[in-house]
Amino acid sequence: MAYSDKVVDHYNNPRNVGALPKEDPNVGTGLVGAPECGDVMKLQIKVNEQTEIIEEAKFKTFGCGSAIASSSLATEWVKGKTLAEALEIKNTDIVKELSLPPVKIHCSVLAEDAIKAAITDWKKKHEQ
């Protein structure tokens, strides 16, 4: 399968790889996918409580090149956005940006799910 230049770039130079402390009240963690399905994404955000702006984002992904690129791109996009803005990122935007072929659309769906899961986790921490 031929990959787009952008996928190759994210694969070779993934942005924001790493981990944030899970227990930090300002960190939201999203873990989506399953090893049996061949894709697991962990996306973490650090959010400013006052402004609800995502100040930092980190990811780790088990999956194909497109999955790695989708999550790498997702961390780039959420950084600097408010939670409300980040929730508006659609998988189709990722598909477009990375020129993903139809068989790889599920990678973009997973990245969108990861963003949402991280935000949900953060919000849960702040309900209490």
Binding site: Y3, P35, E36, T61, I68
Partner: protein
């Protein structure tokens, strides 16, 4: 410096040996005759060349040249063996025994035959990839006409005990077919020593050309008869009509001759390279799992799971090396390898599997390059892998509740 890209996918196909090409060339040029033309020099030359090649092919497997039926390749050979026996022995019975790890050319042919009323038993395999001979014995009924069990598996390289399978078949008066596409030319294969009645083979898996293969069909003790699946001019003793692919057959013959001469040294050499690859990677990386039995295995095969690193992403990182993966993402069906599944390899590990196929033209230098590239890429991708991180934290991934809403 090694020359890139490196080809290490010799189970998919093998490069043409230059000596084979040299043997073929005249038959693309001046000696273009039809081997079935009986009344001029062009035909005679072609026929002579085909008969010489048939002798070389028979010689490699200890057969009589008259027992070699030329086909277009192993898929056709498998089809002819199964459909040919099912058609010819319909009066005697309607039951075939095979195994779940067979090549699709066998499995899909069996499914086709099931639609025509043939009953098929698909034997399971143990975690080492081998069938249980007791299962086989129990599966035989008085309606069983054929046992078809492959010699070497194309994914995990595991060698079934076909000598014993053949013995059991003979004892019970059942014909025995083996798909020996991956093994002939790589390990010793003698139809009499191994009690084989019918065997499929292919030229392009042994440094010959694509588009030509053969079916060994025993003539004596027992004499095997097959209903043809291609009708026409009655070529190949009526079992396979169609004008013979003379250059291809000549190349197949030459490839068989070379394989027969060089097999002992070559299998020792590919085995040493395989072990060098395996031990280098095992020294540098943790959490590696070998798929399939290590004792009964093709010398050049290594099928390994690199836990926590998805196969397609690994292939992408070593894109100057040609190998293949059992990952779903690399298959058209988006399903992980059915062979690994049959061995009981979990889907999580199936997604991380890579098949290395070392062949005649691979060098030690290439093996070292491949090992180093794999080691460095696996390390890099594990840094990226949330699963490796969790594993290192001591989390049992089997107990994690995975959110799979998509």
């Amino acid at each position: 410096m090694v020359k890139l890209p490196i080809y290490m996918d010799n189970h998919a196909t093998t490069p043409l040996d230059p000596r084979v090409l040299d043997a073929m060339m005249p038959f693309f040029k001046d000696q273009f005759g039809n081997a079935a033309s009986r009344n001029h020099k062009f035909g005679w030359e072609a026929e002579q060349a085909v008969e010489a090649a048939r002798k070389q092919i028979a010689g490699l497997i200890g057969a009589d040249p008259r027992e070699i039926v030329i086909t277009s390749g192993a898929t056709e050979s498998d089809n002819l063996a199964l459909k040919g026996v099912a058609g010819m022995y319909r009066e005697k019975g309607d039951h075939i025994i095979t195994a779940v790890t067979e090549h699709k050319a066998i499995l899909d042919t069996c499914k086709h035959l099931e639609k025509e009323g043939v009953r098929v038993t698909f034997l399971p395999v143990a975690s080492n990839g081998l069938i249980d001979l007791d299962d086989l014995k129990k599966a035989i009924t008085d309606k069983t006409i054929l046992i078809s069990i492959m010699h070497a598996n194309n994914e995990v390289g595991v060698l079934q005990d076909i000598r014993e399978i053949g013995r059991i078949a003979r004892e019970r008066g059942v014909l025995f077919h083996t798909d020996a596409t991956q093994s002939i030319g790589k390990v010793p294969f003698n139809v009499n020593e191994l009690n084989v009645d019918i065997a499929s083979m292919s030229a392009h898996k042994m440094y010959g050309p694509k588009g030509v293969g053969a079916l060994y069909v025993r003539r004596r003790n027992p004499r095997v008869l097959l209903t043809p699946i291609i009708d026409g001019g009655g070529h190949e003793r009526g079992m396979r009509s169609g004008t013979l692919n003379v250059p291809g057959i000549v190349g197949f013959g030459k490839a068989a001759e070379i394989a027969a001469q060089e097999l002992p040294q070559e299998s020792a050499r590919t085995f040493a390279l395989r072990e060098r690859l395996r031990t280098t990677m095992e020294r540098e990386l943790d959490e590696l799992y070998i798929n399939g039995d290590m004792q009964n295995r093709l010398p050049g095969n290594l099928n390994m799971s690199f836990a926590f690193v998805e196969g397609e992403s690994l292939l992408m990182g070593i894109n100057d090396i040609a190998v293949s993966s059992g990952s779903a993402c690399t298959s058209a069906s988006l399903e992980p390898s059915y062979v690994l599944k049959a061995l009981g390899v979990g889907e999580d590990l199936a997604h991380t599997s890579i098949r290395f196929g070392i062949g005649r033209f691979n060098t030690e230098e290439e093996v070292d390059y491949v090992a180093n590239r794999v080691i460095e890429t696996v390390r890099r991708l594990r840094e990226l892998s949330p699963l490796y991180e969790m594993f290192k934290e001591g989390i049992d991934l089997k107990t994690v509740h995975w959110a799979t809403e998509n």
